[in-house]
């Protein structure tokens, strides 16, 4: 059984390192031009459309997709490098990240050809933003409790119901959502859900903001009232979305974004501590770096599995479980270690501002993309316990 849990030590090929240099140079230029401040994670980054277009122009969106849809046919490992450099620099990626990571791959797999030709090149150019409609009031992680109905009508479906916790719905051009097309059967509770491409900013869709405890606005409630979706916007099999949606989640679970969300506080701690740390600070930093390094090596290894065409569902779940618990604890560990940082440290204010935001961010990190409990259930299944 442990044979399933090998994380081979993939080495990133030389062309990835070349690409990394290009990304770093690009981000340095953007920072110099004032596009974003790497020291301010609590920026309002939901609206950086010009930055998205410049990233698209670099060829860094849809990197692994076929050229005929605007992609670059590059490797998952190259995409990995771009993702981690953007994340570490605190770049405003929210507008394009979901489309690049998840929605595009779903369309590639399940959308009809004319929709692929219409939408995928626009994602690659950084022009459009996607949201993901999975959770509903009183369903959340229990995906097959979803109730929002898609009722068959002439030439399409009418949608009625509510999605919730939908990130970026207020700026999104499209949403990929699951709706109930028929009731679950006694034999299969997972039956009856269908995946749809939803065009936002249309009649019958109302987006209501939900504030977050960080003070940011990112979540929404999305209410559908007799919203019409044409037949050709069905993605994949009618009533068969369960497997599609869960394989989509594998993309969401092992990337660098699953352990780097609060990384900035570690950099600032190292800066505040300076070149001659006391033993306590040195040990604390050393442990955190060892843990970070280990997770990254696991995450790179999973990227290698994806590149090899495997479906590392259990491995991805392990990386997400360990990674999100780590990034959740990180601000608290840094707070402990920062308690004795000199008053005169030049970046003290930056560190304090970052800690304030990271501590408020931390509670959500083990919820998004599948809760810790759900992930541990998947791992347990992989171990043959269920």
């Amino acid at each position: 059984m442990t044979a399933a849990l090998r994380f081979d030590p993939i080495r990133l090929p030389e062309k990835c390192e070349q690409l990394r240099k290009e990304v770093r140079a690009f981000l340095a230029e953007e920072i110099a031009a004032g596009t974003f401040d790497p020291n301010k994670p609590n920026r309002e980054d939901t609206d950086a459309p010009e930055f998205s277009r410049r990233v698209g122009a670099k060829g860094w969106l849809g990197m692994t997709w076929p050229k005929k849809y605007g992609g670059q046919e590059r490797s998952f490992l190259e995409r990995y490098v771009v993702t981690e450099e953007m994340r570490v620099a605190n770049a405003p990626t929210r507008r394009f990240f979901v489309a690049d990571r998840q929605s595009g791959p779903v369309l590639l797999k399940y959308a009809p050809e004319h929709i692929k030709m219409e939408i995928l090149p626009r994602i690659c150019r950084g022009e459009i933003c996607f949201a993901i409609g999975m959770s509903e009031p009183n369903s959340g992680s229990d995906l097959f409790a979803a109730k929002t109905r898609a009722t068959k009508t002439d030439g399409g479906y009418l949608i009625n119901g509510t999605k919730i916790w939908t990130s970026s719905a207020h700026i999104a051009d499209y949403m990929i959502a699951i709706f109930r097309t028929s009731p679950p059967t006694k034999e299969n509770r997972r039956h009856g859900l269908t995946q749809f491409l939803v065009k936002m900013k249309q009649p019958g869709i109302k987006v209501n903001p939900i504030g977050q405890i960080t003070g940011q606005y990112e979540f929404n409630e999305v209410v559908f009232t007799d919203h019409f979706i044409p037949d050709d916007h069905v993605l994949g099999e009618v009533d068969g979305a369960w497997k599609q949606a869960t394989s989509e989640l594998a993309y969401e679970r092992s990337g660098p974004e699953r352990f780097l969300e609060t990384y900035y506080v570690l950099t600032e701690l190292v800066r505040a501590v300076g070149p001659n740390p006391d033993t306590r600070s040195a040990e604390g930093i050393g442990r955190l770096v060892a843990q970070l390094h280990t997770m990254r090596r696991m995450s790179v290894s999973v990227a290698g599995m994806l590149q090899a065409g495997k479906e590392p569902v259990v491995e991805a779940s392990i990386v997400k479980d360990i990674g999100t618990v780590w990034e959740q604890q990180l601000p608290h560990r840094v707070r402990d270690l920062a308690a004795f940082v000199e008053e005169t440290a030049t970046n003290r204010e930056t560190l304090e501002r970052q800690l304030d935001f990271a501590i408020k961010t931390a509670p959500k990190l083990t919820i998004q993309g599948g809760t810790t409990e759900v992930l541990r259930g998947i791992i347990a299944r992989g171990l043959g316990l269920r």
């Binding site: 090998r6 030590p9 040990e283 442990r287 280990t294 990254r296 392990i318 171990l383």
Partner: protein, 354 residues
């Protein structure tokens, strides 16, 4: 490093399965398994895996040797295999041929120092030397006024105070008092005690990772057998979640250790990237031994706490191995200092170096 595609590992696993079955060993109070196991390992050339042919060894690659140590961890092997391999490797750094029989490394802690006197004799004290009592020879790294030297020493020339580590294996204090070595040569340019400690730490990391793999296996198996409250305990969600965490710790240890082994096997020198890999492996594997071992015992209940059950062979050794060649707190301080010296803006480039 998959076990199936490696002839060295296949050979070793067959020997371990035949002669080092943990249950058989655990039932044998006279240690009568040790001699046949060592003999079989020696005949297969495994203890001198890292010694080139022309120095009397079997000339396996670093990568194969590391994979062998991982397999040894999966059987919690309690003979000085890792120690003899490391000793042979150290001697080979200076071109010294390896003798037959059990060896160990002196010193085995980053803080202990052996010095080379002007008359060519070695002096110093080394604590926590694994299997010193079983060793026929010591591979010694010492420091003289002209730099580091590597020496082969007859173990009977040293004074040994016996000790046991928490895994009940010998961990002894070795005192060298003006001991004349059998052979002594200068260490290669740039070779320092830190290199030896990092190498030893990676060996221990692979052993710990192997022990955790075994602990995961036997814990999963036990949870599928043991019935409580009229259900297999594997059906309780709380137990499942504990085992999922154990799987995570096991996977993290294996990933860290194999990554470090890969880094060393492909490195031209012990640069900062290798330092990050090796120190991280020791730190993370030691943390995994602590967290993972406690979960394995929790799943087993009181039965796993008995000497009759094999669990302790893995859990206690994994805990003991944390201490050799620098504990996790030692390496955390050193890694923290390295990161601080390089500066905040160089942290990510270091982490993302490969």
């Amino acid at each position: 490093m998959a076990e199936s595609d490696n002839i060295v590992v296949e050979t070793a696993e067959k020997i371990f399965a035949d002669l080092a079955d943990p249950q058989t060993i655990n039932n044998d109070k006279n240690n009568s398994w040790q001699a046949p196991l060592w003999q079989a390992l020696s005949e297969a050339g495994l203890p001198l895996a890292w010694v080139p042919d022309d120095l009397g060894g079997s000339g396996a690659s670093l990568a194969d040797g590391f994979a062998l140590l991982n397999a040894a961890g999966r059987f919690a092997v309690a003979v000085p295999l890792a120690e003899t391999m490391l000793a042979g490797w150290l001697l080979a750094q200076a071109g010294i041929a390896a003798p037959e029989g059990e060896m160990t490394i002196v010193p085995a802690s980053p803080k202990d120092r052996i010095t080379l006197d002007a008359d060519g004799a070695l002096s110093g004290r080394a604590r926590g030397v694994p299997f010193a009592k079983a060793a026929k020879h010591f591979a010694v790294l010492a420091h003289g006024k002209d730099g580091a030297v590597i020496a082969l020493v007859d173990a009977s020339k040293g004074r040994i105070e016996s000790g046991l580590n928490v895994g009940y294996d010998h961990s002894d204090t070795v005192t060298l008092d003006k001991v004349q070595p059998i052979t002594i040569k200068p260490a290669p340019e740039g070779f320092e005690q830190t290199n030896l400690m990092l190498m030893g730490g990676v060996a221990r990391s692979l052993q710990i990772a192997g022990a955790l793999e075994a602990m995961l296996d036997i814990s999963v198996r036990y949870s599928n057998e043991r019935v409580a409250f009229e259900k297999k305990i594997s059906k309780f969600q709380a137990v499942q979640h504990n085992l999922a965490r154990l799987a995570g710790e096991s996977a993290a240890a294996l990933a860290a250790a194999t990554s470090a082994a890969d880094a060393i096997a492909n490195a031209k020198s012990f640069n900062d990237e290798v330092y990050l890999e090796a120190a991280s492996a020791k730190i993370r594997c030691a943390e995994a031994a602590e967290k993972g071992g406690s979960i394995a015992h929790q799943v087993h209940g009181a039965i796993g706490f008995t000497m009759e059950h094999i669990l302790h062979r893995y859990s206690l050794r994994a805990l003991a191995w944390r201490d050799d060649f620098g504990s996790e707190s030692h390496w955390a301080v050193e890694l923290g200092k390295l990161v601080a010296t390089r500066g905040a803006d160089e942290l990510w480039p270091l982490v993302a170096s490969r």
